[in-house]
Amino acid sequence: MGKVTASFISFLLLAAAAAAQTTGTVTVGGRAVNDRGAPERAAEYLPTTSGTELALALEAALDTVYLAVDSDAREGSDQVHHLRVELNRLVRSHTSFTKMPHRLVHDPLENLRGAVKMPVVTWSTDLDPTARYRVDYDLLENRTDLQLPQAGWLTVSAIYREQWRQGHRQSLAISHCSTCHVQSQTRAVDERTRDAGVVAQVRAGSWKLEGSFVARDFEEKAPTPTRVYELAEQPALRQPLFNDRVWYDSKNGPLPYGVIPPSEKNTATARLSNPNVGGFAVTLSGVSTRLENLTTGNKVDFDAIALAVGRRLGKKGTFALRARSYTIDSTDYFVDVPEPKAVAGPYAGKSYYERYGFQPDFLRQSAIDRDVTEASARLSYRVGRGSSLIGEYTFQNIDRAHYEVAPGKTDTLTQRLKLAYSARPARGVNFRLEGILADVRRPFMTQNTACQTGPLQTTPLPSPIVPGSVQYYEIYRSRIGDMTASPSSYVQLKGTAALTLGPTTNASLSLLWWDGDNTDQDLTNWSRTTTAANAQVAWAPNESFQAFVAASTGMRKLKSWVCVPLMDG
């Protein structure tokens, strides 16, 4: 790809330079880099090699052709190129190519030693302990518009986008036993995402209709990593007593994990607008997408329709109404769990279900399946010279198809009220104050997914091998705590000011405070408070000197209940 790009740009440079009406710059130089320590943060998106650099910017305006090239090639993995071509105003084409590195952190997994004092049962194995990870990112984008003089009301565009991610990253595979043993190894990355589509725009009077169709395909061409899992055995007795509850182990040899399937996504859009229908600006739009996993055939459909209406109210006011409704529907998936029979112990010849009556098969239905309706109404009014008042009410109702966020309830209703006031009390002084108050009824949370209040009791079906033990499905069923990272109410206050301190000096200041919590859960609470402040002073006493000073600071405080399972084994 790099050779193709370089050849293409060289050709354009030579062709354009030969023309009489060519202007531009060519910069030839070199770069010397001295790096010390780890580059993963200091040079996260930068090359660390020394070498030559070439930059060019040129424009060539010929009789029927306009060419513009802007190119900055710093290293093989750090390049930005733009090309604009116009042919007699019939064809307008813009192509860009970006390439940059992204260095990734290698986690030594030392946190696995953080909790259990004795005996240590959680451990990790790193098969590439000295590996350094990096993924190079390439992006090619093109949009070409065609507009015929005979049909000036119609514009047809072709769009193309191709993204590559190539390199290596760390991959982790956990053991059967709830992450007791984590294995790390290097995983190759060779992803390609390709979008191709067409956009058509039709104008008729003050009406404008725009439609598009884009097809995307994604493929990971690098091999899927594998792991040999531990032998399925009772960890203390070292006997094959767990064969009725473990599907696979070392006897199966290397098994793939972290499989990334190929997928396709088709997106169709339509948008009809008119700035004046009886005094109203109206936009009606719709979107339909289908994402398909090409390995399993599972699909996710997204369909949306939206309406935006706005108009002036007299000389001082404006009104805007926006509404949108969308659905997400994904394929249900029945998970038929293999149920091997025990090969040793008192239950030899029986499956786990036959012994304990627990049915492990289940129908997987996604929490993303939903019907959503959302709308906002916004009213602004100019109360004086340089002063205006804005009020906005927004609501969103999410009704999930399968997932309950409270006992017997699948819907979340969010209502938000915003008030803003902006003013210019004196010459050179502008400020804006904004307050938001929001209430969320039944916010997203997971029910009964953490915490037990007391010791688990031995069931009527205890293990005869280890009397007093409990089964995992009993542990799961005994959880009573709800967990969330979503607020049930929040308040946001924001203030900004812009000051002209003199003929050569400007200053700006902004302050933000956000506070939200969720007290709707069983047993556990969640809260978050965020504050941020920014200030800047810019000074330009004359054309030969400009300077600025800026500072920002912020804080986020998060409180969340934590439950740690206490395991004896």
């Binding site: 010397a32 010390r36 200091a42 000073v549 004896d568 084994g569």
Partner: protein, 135 residues
């Protein structure tokens, strides 16, 4: 001997993230042929978790005969603290009506003061020198 899970230990976890950034910059033309630019940014960021006061009822602890838990250092595994510098000095000198000399020096520095992951401390010096032809 493996017995299983006998309960949970719960506590309110509190984490606090703070950041501060200070930036200065200027552009100066001491003469008709020379332009000098200076930009520098300093950032300090940290995310700290308070020690967890995890505990469990005596009935649960009495069943944990083979294991002992110690969460006293747990919070230190998720602390993140860093400071970083990003400073650039650059100059352009007009050598003739069509030729301009360009120079820049950039210093990037990241200090990992809490090495939860591997030590990410590192810094770079980048010097650039070039000649620009305008046509």
């Amino acid at each position: 001997m493996t017995l299983g899970q006998f309960g949970t230990s719960g506590a309110l976890a509190t984490s606090e993230m703070t950041y501060s950034t200070f930036a200065v910059g200027s552009n100066f033309k001491p003469g008709s042929r020379v332009t000098i630019g200076l930009n520098a940014t300093y950032t300090q960021a940290e995310e700290l978790v308070d020690p967890l006061g995890l505990g469990a009822s005596p009935e649960i602890l009495a069943k944990l005969t083979g294991f002992s838990y110690d969460f006293s250092t747990w919070h230190t595994y998720v602390d993140l603290r860093s400071t970083s510098w990003d400073a650039t000095a650059e100059a352009e000198v007009k050598l003739s009506s069509v030729l301009t000399g360009v120079f820049s020096y950039t210093y990037l520095d990241f200090n990992d003061n809490s090495r939860y992951l591997t030590d990410l401390t590192g810094n770079l010096d980048i010097v650039r020198l070039g000649l620009r032809w305008t046509f």
